[in-house]
Amino acid sequence: MSAPVKSGKLAKWAMLIDTTKCVGCLACVAACHNQNELPVTEFFNRVEEREFGCFPNYNRRFLPMQCQHCDNPPCVSVCPTGASYKRSDGIVAIDTRRCIGCKYCILSCPYKARIINKEHGFVHKCGFCAALLHNNALPACVGTCPTGVRVFGDLNDPNSEISKLAASKKVIQIGKDLNTKPSIYYIIG
């Protein structure tokens, strides 16, 4: 897949996860762990195993989960110090210097995307590999996926692959009824 190219305007980063292609190899988890130089017990993403439907229309799928970079992020609105914030390119980020470790954001997140850094006490999570994006590279989990589960791009660019896929009817957003407006789209199939 080509690198995310910014259209002239400001980007609005989004990801699509096609669970029908996921084989559960956990390469994304390893790549993320490596990219973010995380302690051994801390992970920004995970792959759940979920059952969908009822017999006979039943299937079991791998479901990669991580921060959904919501457009209405509960973690940002509950943060008492402004440590959690929403960037103009759609990324939900954390200024760890301002994080006091009250854990309110962890409790507010329906996706269990936030974790405490045991060494320093701040909360951290997936940041869509903002540093890689800055250098026109894909996030680690997207670039490493061997089966092309993850599509990443700019929703503000109408010609991008993600814009076309996100508009299709197969696509869902997880926890949509909680009014979080996630930036990660899923194909469950």
Binding site: R50, F52, P74, S77, V78, C79, P80, T81, G82, R98, C99, I100, G101, C102, K103, Y104, I106, L107, S108, C109, P110, Y111, K112, I116, H120, G121, F122, V123, I174, G175, L178, N179, T180
Partner: protein, 295 residues
């Protein structure tokens, strides 16, 4: 997983006691400052201290306690926690002034301006209401936590806070059993009866409301009705926190205040306080152990 430990439960409880004691003190002062003088002064003497102990707990529950001051250099109007941090700061200040005001009325006998005193009372009334309200809203505004995310949660915690304040006042008054306290006992038992009746009502609405709501809410309710918190819920929350103090208050009212057993007062106040702690403990833990079901 539990992120907010029993330190938070203790904080919510102590904030409830402080806010409730202050609310009742000011209310008694408005109703009849002479007849209910003991309630006014005892409430004022209690108010500043539990919440201060609670605030220390609150700071030590932070992963980075050394940075707690960041709460007081920022104001985020969308964050209930940020609003709450400011409310408890102002509440502490006003409750100390109110404490000194009552202290000087009893012992120092200085001259004070009535308008200034009234302004403090008004500020106190607004702030103690805000404290008792925000502690519930802190939990009830999280959509990810179906056990907390009901409109009745803050009402339940508010009523419980006033009950705890009343119980704390009643407990302190029991230490001086020799005085004639007919009027005060009427105030306490009527207050207890009305508030516990409302708490009972809120608990029933809470249970039925959660049970008949979404799948997430119904399964969250399961943790207290039949799951790992069921013993604490039925014996602690329902029996010790609501039913026993309610029956005690009703009994003391129905016997028309002829028997004022200080022991019965003492025990029912103690039960109400222990129950108040358990109510918060169950709510704080159950909310954290359950989550919105996303599929």
């Amino acid at each position: 997983m539990i992120y907010w430990s029993s330190l938070i439960t203790f904080y919510l409880f102590s904030a409830g006691v402080s806010a409730g004691a202050m609310l009742l003190s000011i209310a008694a002062d408005l109703i009849n400052p002479v007849k209910y003088k003991k309630i006014v002064t005892t409430g004022a003497y209690i108010a500043p201290f539990p919440i201060m102990a609670g605030m220390i707990m609150l700071i030590f529950d932070l992963e980075r306690p050394g940075l707690f001051w960041l709460l007081l250099t920022t104001f985020k109007y969308k964050s209930i926690m940020s609003i709450g941090a400011w409310i408890i700061t102002f509440f502490s200040a006003v409750s100390i002034i109110y404490f000194i005001l009552n202290l000087q009325k009893d012992y120092l006998k200085l001259k004070t301006k009535t308008t200034a005193v009234n302004a403090i009372k008004l500020a106190g009334l607004i702030l103690c209401t805000s404290v008792a309200l925000y502690t519930g809203l802190l939990l009830s505004t999280l959509t990810a936590r179906p056990f907390w995310n009901t409109p009745i949660t803050p009402v339940l915690l508010f009523i419980s806070a006033v009950i705890d304040g009343l119980a704390a006042i009643s407990l302190v008054l029991c230490l001086k059993p020799d005085e004639d306290k007919r009027d005060i006992n009427t105030f306490i038992h009527t207050g207890d009866f009305v508030l516990l009746y409302l708490l009972l009502l809120c608990t029933v609405i809470f249970l039925i409301g959660l049970g008949k709501s979404t799948q997430s809410a119904a399964s969250a309710l399961g943790i207290v009705t039949s799951g790992q918190l069921s013993v604490l819920f039925w014996f602690g929350f329902v029996a010790v926190g609501v039913v026993i103090p309610f029956v005690a208050a009703a009994y003391q009212l129905c016997t028309k205040m002829r028997v004022h057993s200080p022991w019965l007062n003492f025990i029912s106040a103690l039960f109400a306080l222990i129950g108040g702690y358990i109510v918060r403990s169950v709510i704080v833990d159950a909310g954290q152990l359950t989550q919105a079901i996303l599929f």
